[in-house]
Symmetry: C2
Subunit: 504 residues, 2 copies
């Protein structure tokens, strides 16, 4: 082994006596040294991943500082619509972030897999055989998992950046994550991944009806995993629009998944566990190898993208972060748990459905509007037609040409949403039959409506165009983060408390 590699791998991983012991002698009080060596032995590579995530924070900050002007000069820039300043700021800075992340994973590889301990034995004549056919302790399957994860991340980065450059159409964008999830599914298959789900034991008739406590989904399960990639990559992308919200949600999900992994790090399993408990440990370790560096680079990106944003993240970041989460779920065999942490994104997606599927007109931008004097946000609205073209022309410019009146179905859906204070409706007529306008169906507008901010469409120039509490962009970001964190708490409750009730 090449000396610097050996030195570095011993530093983080090695069998004793090693440099790690030397470093511990210098830095750590005697009584803790054995503990650290014990955990290093039980969880190989975890110290290296932690170290790399700290380095990742620092390198990402530096990379963004160095590249933002280049991006700006090449036309990757946009105006921040929710500020008084007219100057554009650099865009697509998710790309250097993702590049640093990929470099970290590449550099991590030898720390995990290029270690004398993993060969199982000292070099002997059958060393070649040992590495080749799975004997001698080389984790070929785990290496394949790790590589397939990197492959799917890189595909997502390419797709995201191409979307930033070319604005790819939806019909081309949707199938790409499905194709790029094939290697991942192949590795899942090679790892003997299960394709069955446990049928809830409560209510009791479900199991009776299905006739078994386990439902074998077979190829449908692969389809589900493949769609999970598409969902995760796009759901972060549509919950966007205010400073720091894309990175913030990714960071909360990433930290939540890390905590979930930590719950499985049972050192006894690593040292002397059964085959299946070792396998469980290994999967959650793999998940941590991928998520810890992500947490590091996201923190750095957030420090640039948080209110007031100095850079925008671009589609690159949303696709990339979403792909990391779905990949971790698939390879870690806990894809359903991952979905639990996406509750706010799922809520936002479901709320958006009437607009995505054409029940309500869908403009290009649905972010809340900015009131320059008070620097506060209020919900953006979308008009319906009145059925009278001449009257429609008097409506404020809505960027959409032909306005249709609200259909029966739209009216019912919107009235239901209005009843739970997720949208604010205005009417053409007094008995409130024909809807004139609705706030746009996103979680950001819904938060404002729920807090009581009311858009006043009839406000004259000079008047404040909204009533209710004054919520700034930063305030709305805090609201969103609180919802995301609450969603994570809910997810933990469902996963570890409700699940034990429903799946006895």
């Amino acid at each position: 082994m090449w000396p610097p590699f050996r030195w570095l791998s011993e530093l983080f991983l090695s069998s004793r006596p090693s440099r790690l012991t030397t470093i511990l002698d210098l830095l750590v009080p005697f009584k803790h040294r054995q503990t650290i060596l014990y955990y290093d032995d039980a969880f190989p590579g975890l110290f290296a991943a932690t170290g790399l995530s700290l380095i990742g924070y620092w390198v990402t900050s530096m990379a963004i500082a160095k590249t933002k002007d280049v991006f700006f000069a090449r036309g990757f820039k946009g105006r921040d619509l929710l500020k008084n300043k007219p100057e554009p700021i650099p865009e697509s800075l998710g790309l250097p972030t993702a590049a640093v992340y990929m470099a970290l994973l590449f550099l991590f590889t030898p720390f995990r897999y290029f270690s004398s301990r993993l060969q199982g034995v000292v070099k002997t004549g059958d060393d070649w055989e040992g590495r080749m056919d799975g004997r001698g302790g080389f984790p070929h399957h785990e290496l394949a998992s790790f590589l397939s994860a990197q492959l799917s991340f890189l595909s997502a980065i390419v797709l995201g950046f191409l979307d930033d450059v070319f604005d790819i159409r939806w019909r081309y964008k949707l199938p790409i994550p499905i194709i790029s999830s094939i290697p991942l599914l192949m590795v899942y298959y090679a790892g003997g991944g299960g394709t069955s789900v446990v049928v809830p034991g409560w209510p009791g008739f479900l199991r009776q009806w299905i006739g078994s406590s386990i439902l074998e989904l077979g190829p449908l399960y692969y389809l589900y995993m493949s769609l999970l990639s598409t969902f995760c990559t796009n759901s972060i992308n549509i919950l966007a629009g205010i400073n720091g919200v894309e990175v913030g949600q990714a960071l909360v999900i990433s930290i939540s998944l890390c905590i979930n992994d930590l719950l499985y790090l049972d050192s006894r399993a690593g040292m002397a566990g059964s085959r299946s408990s070792k396998e469980l440990l290994r999967r959650h370790l793999l998940s941590l190898y991928l998520l810890l560096p992500l947490t590091g680079v996201c923190m750095a990106l957030l420090s640039w993208n948080r209110y007031p944003a100095r850079v925008f993240v671009g589609d690159t970041f949303c696709y990339f972060a979403g792909m990391v989460f779905s990949t971790v779920g698939i390879l870690g065999h806990f894809s359903k748990t991952v979905l639990l942490f996406f509750v706010p994104q799922i809520f936002n997606f479901v709320l958006s459905c009437p607009q995505l599927f054409g029940l309500v007109p869908n403009p290009r931008h649905r972010v809340p509007r900015f009131h320059a004097e008070s620097k506060c946000l209020y919900p953006s609205i979308q008009y319906f037609g009145s059925g009278n073209a001449a009257e429609d022309e008097k409506l404020p410019n809505t960027s959409l040409k032909a306005l249709r009146p609200a259909s029966m179905l739209s009216t019912i859906v919107l009235k239901l949403l209005s009843a739970v204070r997720l949208v604010q409706l205005d009417y053409y007529d007094e008995p409130k039959r024909r809807i004139k306008s609705t706030t746009n169906l996103t979680i950001l507008n819904a938060i404002l409506v729920f807090r009581g901010v009311r858009h006043l469409p009839s406000a004259k120039a000079g008047q404040t165009p909204f009533t209710g509490p004054h919520i700034t962009e930063y305030g709305l970001w805090v609201h969103t983060m609180i919802i995301q964190i609450a969603g994570s708490c809910l997810a933990f409750a469902i996963r570890y408390w409700v699940a034990s009730v429903v799946f006895p």
Copy 2:
């Protein structure tokens, strides 16, 4: 298994009785059927790879036709300097080519690895174990190799496209392929890859001097492989400048490597060979899985990029194609053979060294010049200073500011090159001491000089600025392709004839 998947995998791969037999019944005369089934059994996945390369040709042509206007509209365009037409044409069309190639590899994965035969046995209780730990015949290591190859290709594509968008500086560009080769080297290591070279047996003193017939290079061998990636990605990029030359050389190398792989396809090894002969077969099959689709997509790209070019390929293609070759060499354990097929590129690199390392002034473009009236090419030249600034200002515009006179070393090197007719020199004085100009040091200019085309720096406006044979851009392309093909023939001769003499 999901029915369409099963159907497709049976179509190309399966154990009999299968759809393949049905198709053969319909299409192939009886006496050939058993032969096809036999080869299908001996070389799993080869039929699928061949089919996908045909599909690749068709899809790439279509993808280029559909995306070229989008590239053009987004500013990816350039003028063809060697034509009379002033209109720019779209650039960076290597990107859709590479994207189609990656999609083909992704789609190929299940054909090779998702087959009932590879599980070794019919599904039983220990099926999970079978796939998981290398027993039951699942080729985990080969899957890891395949994934690491795709990972390095995708890294090269990202790097190439970023270079097209941002014009990355050399000092950042060079280390990136080294970092992105880490997963590849890891897999090479996991596959028990050798790090020793055989010392030539002739001349005899070499082995005596080293003291062994095998030289263990250890980590230096990894360094060599990592630099191979950098060399291959950049060497195709610097042999560029005329229509079709980047794709043409890649196509010749790709076909040559395919032929080299075919020499190892011994069906007896696949059916009942020893462990090591099966391993050799498997490596060359893997190489074919990667090279056959490349050949397909390159042919399609060439049909768009050949003289007169309708699109340019961009750095993306050069990086991507170079990475495929180096990866195939590393994973197939024949990296030294790959280098043999790069003889023209190595020659071009060595010839360029005086300009790359500052002995001769290095302008941004070194392509031959175009004579609009005759539509022919003649060598481009580079001036040296005369030592007199006032006199230097009378020289034609050379895009470089301060011109230094030729140093002693430059003069010696250039005179040597001139003696073998690779450059054309002009002098300030009669005894031919102070060099006034030299043709640029690229293989394209060298071909023109060697064929006797002479640049006339003193030609007045209206006069033909060169003498000698009339070689058009297409003619120069043919010359380059002949050299590349001759290089491949030489490589085969060295590999299979000289090698047997030198390594007895």
